[in-house]
Symmetry: C2
Subunit: 205 residues, 2 copies
């Protein structure tokens, strides 16, 4: 018996979460059944309930752990003493690396959480809002300093995060782009999109 009472998940619980992540992200939460999950683990469906009380609880565990990973990894980078554009670049790259390290969980972080039952869904939504707010505030700060062009911070954040999140849909480790390549391309795209330098000829003001 371990001395620490700080509860990490049992090995079995982790195995179940891992299998569920794969299933939920591949087929979607509603489509993946507890029977599917049990079969993946080579046990009977009822046995899952020795570990988790409900399907919703499994979704919740996956979602909340993934959310924490994003928040803990990315948010601290918004408060360093680096210049605004450097901070944003780091956040974008960090966000991408979290996606790629947790590709299955990311699908749940972005999409499947919507199927959480209340009150978990609201609690989760608040986390995401907090996450996005960090980006919005950073962009506002950059605009205030004249580093970024006068964009709509909320709109820009939405576009930015949507464009990055899509990575989880197509990224394959064996593909041509490395994580660094993706981070560089994405950061370049986004920072250029925010730069004050008048792009060569677009006539948008």
């Amino acid at each position: 018996m371990p001395i620490t009472r700080i509860q990490d998940l049992s090995l079995r619980k982790q195995e179940i979460l891992s299998a569920a992540r794969g299933l939920f992200s591949k087929k979607g939460f509603q489509t993946a059944s507890m029977r599917d999950l049990a079969q993946t683990l080579d046990i009977k469906p009822a046995s899952l309930y020795s570990h988790y009380q409900s399907k919703d609880e499994i979704l919740w565990e996956i979602a909340i752990r993934c959310a924490r990973e994003f928040l803990d990894t990315v948010l601290p980078l918004s408060e360093t003493s680096l210049p605004v554009e450097k901070r944003l670049e780091q956040m974008v790259k960090a966000h991408i690396s979290v996606i790629i390290r947790n590709q299955d969980a990311s699908a749940i972080f972005f999409q499947e959480w919507i199927h959480l039952e209340e009150p978990r869904r609201s609690e989760y939504k608040a986390l995401i809002d907090r996450y996005e707010s960090a980006f919005i505030q950073l962009i506002e700060e950059g605009i205030g300093e004249g580093i970024f062009r006068n964009a709509n911070p909320r709109f820009t954040t939405s576009m930015m995060i949507a464009s990055i999140n899509w990575i989880h849909q197509w990224y394959r480790p064996e593909g041509k782009m490395s994580v660094e390549d993706i981070g560089n391309e994405a950061a370049h795209f986004i920072l250029a999109g925010l730069s004050v330098s008048p792009s060569n000829d677009t006539n948008v003001r």
Copy 2:
């Protein structure tokens, strides 16, 4: 040339599709049941089968019509005699206007089509690929002309479309941004992200 011929629908069929669009986009295809759909229309579930043979067929009708709308509206703009960056700007704005005109259908165009059964799913996928290819080719053309920076065309297209598509998730007609505002912001963001002007970037060749 046309992959699937779209015939005109009876009034009742249109009403069913309209209700289904709302339901599928709001709750997701799997979550929304034929019972839900029937209730929305104030008829019995079995009556739906007088009009459509299956739930899959309803999803298919919605998806394929929406796909046609995107392809017919946006693709012709890629072949005009305008400069590359102007064509891309028009395509982005046209894509956005289709999203906003068909907000419910767009959710299906982007996400719910995945639940189509074969062989419809593959046929649909081919349409989307054709759509994306037009953007990829345009970006390649722009890079070749030295108008766009040396980005990865496929990656950039993916980010670009993902960022625009997200609009259907939050746009509300009563919100602060008009369709024109959104089109301008998005086009600026994307074209600036592709411009050759080097911003503060680490890996410019």
